[in-house]
Symmetry: C2
Subunit: 272 residues, 2 copies
């Protein structure tokens, strides 16, 4: 696991160590905040508008103050001096006393951490597995990239990296929702389908780009519930995230796929 | 909202400010950890065994290393020099790089913060309200006092302190589970009932004490699902938490209660 090259808290670079957070921060105490993981490419944050739009929407739903102007200035500056890397943005409700009740007068905390680009494995197709851990359903939190991520943590702890590349997660009702850190797309009878996220899952930035590209390419698209059995009848699978892009799936337990045709068209259109 | 009198991170007192946490801590990034809120009374932590037992059980379920001996030493020392107060214990999986996957080799982080005793309002009976926010169901996380608390945060943001003393929460299926920061007990046809917590809710330290006291007092007890309609047919309601003890409920929206008989017997037996 990588450690950050540099960290900024509320616009200030943190020197020497990364010890820079108030222990009273509500991000720590309640997971009361949001995050974004962005890719810096050629000195620019890829899909910056989508990341900021999701953050803005998340702030609105959690009633969190969104320091968008300061954040935008900072991340543009970091991107331009970095050229290539991963920039993680954490935005919390800020520091306050004990108790769940949010104090509307406190200022949010923004934590930016810069990581080197992960070494790109030229993986032809991902090997997926099913996770035992289920996602809980809650319409009020669905779609948000919030800091309550214990379900993903427990899901990823189910296997070792050498056993599989990613894990698929169902919700507690048995619907297939996503991978632990990526959205899911399947192709079935010529239709590109991605799970609707009305109960859980994250509205991925790359997922939105794929839906946009699919429309431009006149693909037949459906956003609907997906069940495990549907995967067996799909001709192609891929998963998406903002940093890693579109990644074709080669297998899920005993099911195998060889087609990458739709993923290839989308990658080409999106210049990934 | 109160601010801490003193803070310790991994056994070291934090001087001057509370800025003492690594921004890479998994408690912040994923809510990957647990907490306990304890009462210090006459130089001792009340129900210390129950708090430590719950923490130990939580660590086991989250596969988190539990620094029990160090923690015990520290909290006993703090309690003995403090006499009266609130001690909050946060235990996280520690600091690691980006990514959900837990690194089994990292050390957990323990954060202790000491608060003054809250001013005790001599409230004769609490006024409760219903929360719109629902609790999501997930057997794997049920009962744990983990750091994923966005649901409680959003629930408490629904009302102002002067409008109600606490809010009751249902889960997404409509079962009544608990208050935002307390467990619920109802008396119906002479039976003391508390919601089972198989899908969500926290296994409260005071809840366990009440169940123990009820057994000693030969009360008829049932741990079972409770639905909103059941409350209307109950003769007495109270809520419990480790710091505030047993608190009788006077009203929930338009329903009112005057009996505090069972709560009184339990309070007397437990010397609260």
């Amino acid at each position: 696991m990588s450690t950050p090259l540099e960290v900024w808290v509320n616009g200030k670079a943190v020197a020497n160590s990364n010890v820079a957070l108030d222990v009273m921060d509500r991000g720590l105490n309640y997971g009361d905040g949001l995050f974004e993981t962005t890719l810096i490419h050629s000195g620019q944050i890829r899909f910056i508008d989508s990341h900021l739009a999701r953050l803005r929407e998340g702030c609105k739903r959690l009633r969190l103050s969104c320091p968008e102007r300061a954040l935008l200035e900072e991340i543009v500056q970091i991107a331009s001096t970095t050229q290539e890397g991963i920039l993680k943005i954490v935005l919390t409700r800020g520091s306050a006393g004990r108790g769940y009740r949010p104090d509307p007068n406190i200022e949010s905390t923004r934590i930016l951490s810069l990581y080197p680009m992960p070494s790109s494995h030229a993986v032809p197709g991902l090997r997926l597995r099913w996770c035992e851990m289920r996602l809980s359903r809650n319409e009020r939190l669905a779609g948000l990239k919030h800091l309550n991520r214990l379900e993903q943590v427990l899901a990823q702890s189910e296997w070792q990296p050498e056993e599989a590349d990613e894990g698929l997660m169902m919700d507690t009702a048995g619907e297939v929702v996503c991978a632990t850190a990526a959205n899911l797309f399947v192709v079935r009878e010529g239709v590109l389908i991605t799970p609707d996220l009305r109960y859980c899952g994250v509205e991925g930035v790359m997922r939105a780009q794929v839906l946009r590209a699919a429309e431009a390419l006149n693909l037949s698209v459906s956003v609907e519930p997906i069940w495990p059995d549907d995967l067996r009848h799909s001709s192609e699978l891929f998963i998406t995230n903002a940093v890693r892009g579109i990644r074709s799936v080669a297998s899920l337990s005993d099911i195998e796929w060889t087609s990458t045709a739709v993923a290839d068209r989308l990658r080409t259109w999106l210049k990934l």
